[in-house]
Subunit: 579 residues, 2 copies
């Protein structure tokens, strides 16, 4: 609720810094500069009532929301005030047209930012919509380094739907172990999984059951349910008004279902793209996705209602995440008289698949996909053991990022920086049984990348399979940097290259930057390799990416402009960190 | 007890790597190359029975002991396998003659080593003796990144004392909070001190009272006193034999007293310099110091004895640290029948001062100091508040290291990298009351440095004072990089520049690299600025240095050879990390 004031604060600061430019911009409809000065550091916070060290931006987690208008240039001057840790921040959903070096993917587009150093991210937000940002180095996202980007339409342009106000809702799951502790387990032999999160957060607030905290390691005073830092987030609404809820998820692990007790929601936007409106009672949302839903405050106004998130796709061990959908003028913290929703069955994959299939591009805003692809890459998603460590692999390659960022290595032809042979475009479809545990003994760690012909059309078929646990196949939200892709289709079982393309929606597929791969299923995506740069494409589950679940695409490297020296300083990349 | 085998291992490895060179060297008395390949990472360890993440070297904390012979060149190829943290390692007591870039002091002599990167430290161990190594970045030393360096005499040269065997003993104090948690408290407003350590470690082993662990935050299984990792270290001795115990301390906070029940000790070495032998019952040892003591196994041999360390100079809240002085053939873990020593009174400053004063250079090995100094720098040690944060200052300047290492900045004349005005050589002696709490409202953070005339003789008078707590003055062990200094004298109260020099020992002062500054006292040190480079001089208490308690000396920068590119890559220092 503080965001309008916060937004004003930025402009005031901006005014102070660029008085002339800003005055000009305020008096016109020209693109503006949105300036943020951030300090990233560790601080003790109690987002779910349990006190732990959190990576904050200007003292906050989630960090400040970036508000901008389509066409604006966003400057984020980020000072790393961590003590011994580097950092990098990815602008999730922003395509970085012309600024591939600002994508913030450590090892792909930049060297990490050293403690004490300041790095300037500069990029244009070319399209209105709801986006995210988060740490993209080690597992720092899970330490609390995340936030929202809201891009509004240009002056005089309206959304194709109407609402009175908008509200921002960012979802997360939350662990009490530090990211070092989580990574130590994932790297250990025997493997120790991060496990289920301790709580779910809505707008950075959750509620851990402190009575469990003696067993799980809290000192006296470490867990305190009366701490105002963890009082539930209130979404205050005026009766009769319609709200656009901009909902984003940056969970480390959990697929979620979001609902507001007694209220229908109409989905209108997904990952910055308009979708043909359709009504739902619960929204399935996977890590890395954003949606806008319209909700009318049309229920009995003398009480409040629960807004809830619940874990799906994994047998949940985490309590429901709660916020209060607060009908003005009730007290924002007044508890609803009802029990919070527990959501659909966690293992109702069919229901999740059905919702994935229900999305269509909005009439009048359809961006038609090319009818055929120049190249089809089928990625078999498997869990493997490599040198005794659990890993995730694509076609038996588990991604390890090189010391020298790919962008620098490719631009400067540092061929020693990573293995130059291409990874395979497919797997042994005929002989691989996706329903059985496979050892995949030939799986290896690799930093090989896919090099795409510039402007070619590329299909990626994500093929799910059984994990290394009997009768288990997990859900993987795949996120592509630098592009939106068309979501051509989803299916169950093994993708059949000779006929499953017939199921594709080539008429009005939605475009997204993140799409789920459902258990034992396949997901077909198409994109145009038209953004010069180097782009990560990976599972957005923090531990899965840590365990190698990603690939990297290069396209049009020769068209990339001169790299800023600030992205260098590691591996074979000469130059210094300061811009 | 595994060290001889370990040492052999190194030579075997060395043989494999440099077969020809080694064969030649083994057959001659020429200097050899000692090669270590280290991987630094986080692992769960239970040094005091409480399981936590520890920074290990090749899976160990303390790390492997470096054994070398005077004149050898030591190569340490260090791979940083931490996830998001950089690292740097300092070779404590090694003067780095001709290799100032290998000193390992982050911000002073090098940029930190990034995760995934490998850095080669190369230096000559020019003098036999007992030395240390440890992390010198953030508070990583306190995370377990430390070990010993043992340099033996050249073939055919004997020590001026005799013994049968030597044993290595490294002392530490140990915290259960992570270094991030410790630093978060030190940086917080209000300030949260790291507090007293949970346990004391001898050769990396201590014993925490696990029954306290529910209160202090341990989950079930986190604290386990039956874990063999935390069984006490055994120092096995053969009755009638004389042992040289090489004792080093790398405590974060604690000054210690070391004793072996029922055994006299004769001190023969301090910080790599021979001292005139003298007998003691307990050795006071401050963080950063090393000593060799001779102990004869001359007691009743049917039992074992306690070797103990206890905290002094602070009101102790940490239990005695224990090892077993094991008379062969008793079982190494057989408990002595007696109660462990509790040591002298913690606040018996006079006794500690007396021991400091008792040291003399050994007859026949006296390195006479210059009789006068070219420059006298008096450093008033105070605690201050700066911008609401507790800090430690010298003459009201609290050190903050610059982004660009001083060595690079000075060599390349990057005058913007740090403030060029010199810090003051003294303080307001006439008006400053060292016995009262002073606010020192003019204290500031600073990265100014002392530039010394090459080959000049410099006196540093460390002047202690009251801290910001009424009637409290702390003990500060000051460590100088790149040099030994002559310890000219210690005194109580305010140093009087017009007469206290008369108390100096100019006849046979010992040389050291670390010397204590006692409460409300002064310590007078003299050194020759004859080692081209940039050298830190700081309090060796980890939290005090973190809070700014240090200065930096430059001397003969124009004589420093070409800097290796591997030390660059941060701040304004161009170049890449790889050598």
């Amino acid at each position: 609720m503080t965001e309008p004031a916060e937004r004003k604060g930025y402009f005031v600061r901006l005014l102070a810094l660029f008085p002339l430019i800003c005055l000009i911009n305020f008096s016109s409809v020209e693109a503006k500069t949105v300036y943020h000065k951030w300090e990233v550091k560790y601080e003790y916070k109690s987002p779910d009532c349990y006190k732990k060290l959190v990576i904050t931006i200007n003292g906050r987690s989630p960090g400040p929301t970036i508000f901008a208008q389509q066409g604006d240039t966003v400057f984020v001057e980020l000072k790393n005030s961590l003590w011994t840790e580097n950092v990098a921040v990815h602008w999730h959903g922003i395509r970085q047209l012309g600024t591939p070096w600002s994508d913030g993917a450590e090892g792909v587009t930049q060297c990490p930012i050293l403690p004490g150093e300041t790095f300037i991210y500069r990029f244009v937000v070319d399209r209105a919509g709801t986006y995210l940002y988060h740490g993209h180095y080690g597992m720092q996202r899970a330490a609390g380094l995340y936030g929202s980007i809201i891009v509004s339409l240009p002056e005089g342009v309206s959304e194709p739907f109407s609402y009175d106000y908008d509200q921002n809702i960012i979802l997360n799951d939350w662990y009490h172990a530090s990211t070092n502790e989580q990574a130590a387990g994932l790297s250990a032999i025997p493997f120790v999984f991060v496990g289920e999160p301790q709580s779910l957060l809505i707008n950075g607030r959750g509620k851990y059951n402190c009575s469990l905290s003696t067993a799980s390691g809290s000192a006296a005073g470490v867990c305190n349910t009366t701490n105002p830092e963890c009082s539930p987030s209130s979404l205050t609404v005026v009766p009769g008004k319609t709200y656009r809820l901009r909902i984003g998820s940056l969970t480390s692990l959990s697929a979620l279902t979001f609902e507001i007790e007694g209220h229908d929601m109409t989905v209108v936007e997904a990952d910055g793209n308009y979708v043909e409106p359709f009504a739902i009672r619960n929204l399935y949302i996977y890590s890395g996705e954003t949606y806008s839903v319209l909700v009318k405050a049309d229920q009995e106004s003398s009480r409040n209602y629960w807004a809830t998130i619940n874990v799906v796709a994994r047998n949940p061990a985490t309590p429901t995440g709660l916020a209060i959908f607060n009908y003005y003028p009730n007290h924002p913290q007044k508890q609803p008289p009802t029990a919070p929703a527990t959501g659909p069955l966690w293992n109702d994959t069919a229901s999740r698949l059905a919702q994935s299939l229900a999305f269509r591009a909005r009439q009048g805003f359809i961006n038609k996909p090319p009818v055929t692809a120049d190249r089809v890459i089928v990625l078999l998603n498997t869990q493997n053991k490599i040198d005794g460590h659990f890993k995730w692999s694509l076609n038996n390659l588990s991604l390890i990022l090189p010391q020298t960022p790919y962008l620098v290595a490719l631009k400067e032809n540092l061929t020693g920086a990573f293995a130059q042979d291409p990874p395979p475009d497919g797997y042994d479809v005929a002989n691989y049984d996706i329903h059985s545990v496979a050892e995949n003994v030939n799986a290896t760690s690799s930093n090989r990348i896919y090099r795409l012909r510039f402007n070619s059309t590329v299909d990626v078929i994500l093929q799910n399979a059984n994990s290394m646990t009997v009768k288990n196949s997990e859900t993987h939200p795949w996120h592509l940097h630098g592009h939106d892709f068309w979501v051509l289709g989803y299916g169950t079982g093994k993708y059949n290259i000779s006929c499953d393309w017939r199921k594709y929606n080539l008429v009005n597929p939605i475009m997204k930057n993140t799409a789920p791969l459902h258990p034992y299923g396949w997901t077909a995506l198409r994109f145009r390799a038209d953004n010069p740069g180097v782009w990560a494409f990976h599972c957005h589950v923090e531990s899965h990416f840590y365990m190698g679940m990603g690939v990297v695409f290069e396209e049009g490297i020769e068209k990339v402009g001169e790299l800023p020296s600030s992205i260098r300083g590691c591996g074979e990349s000469e130059g210094h960190h300061r811009p």
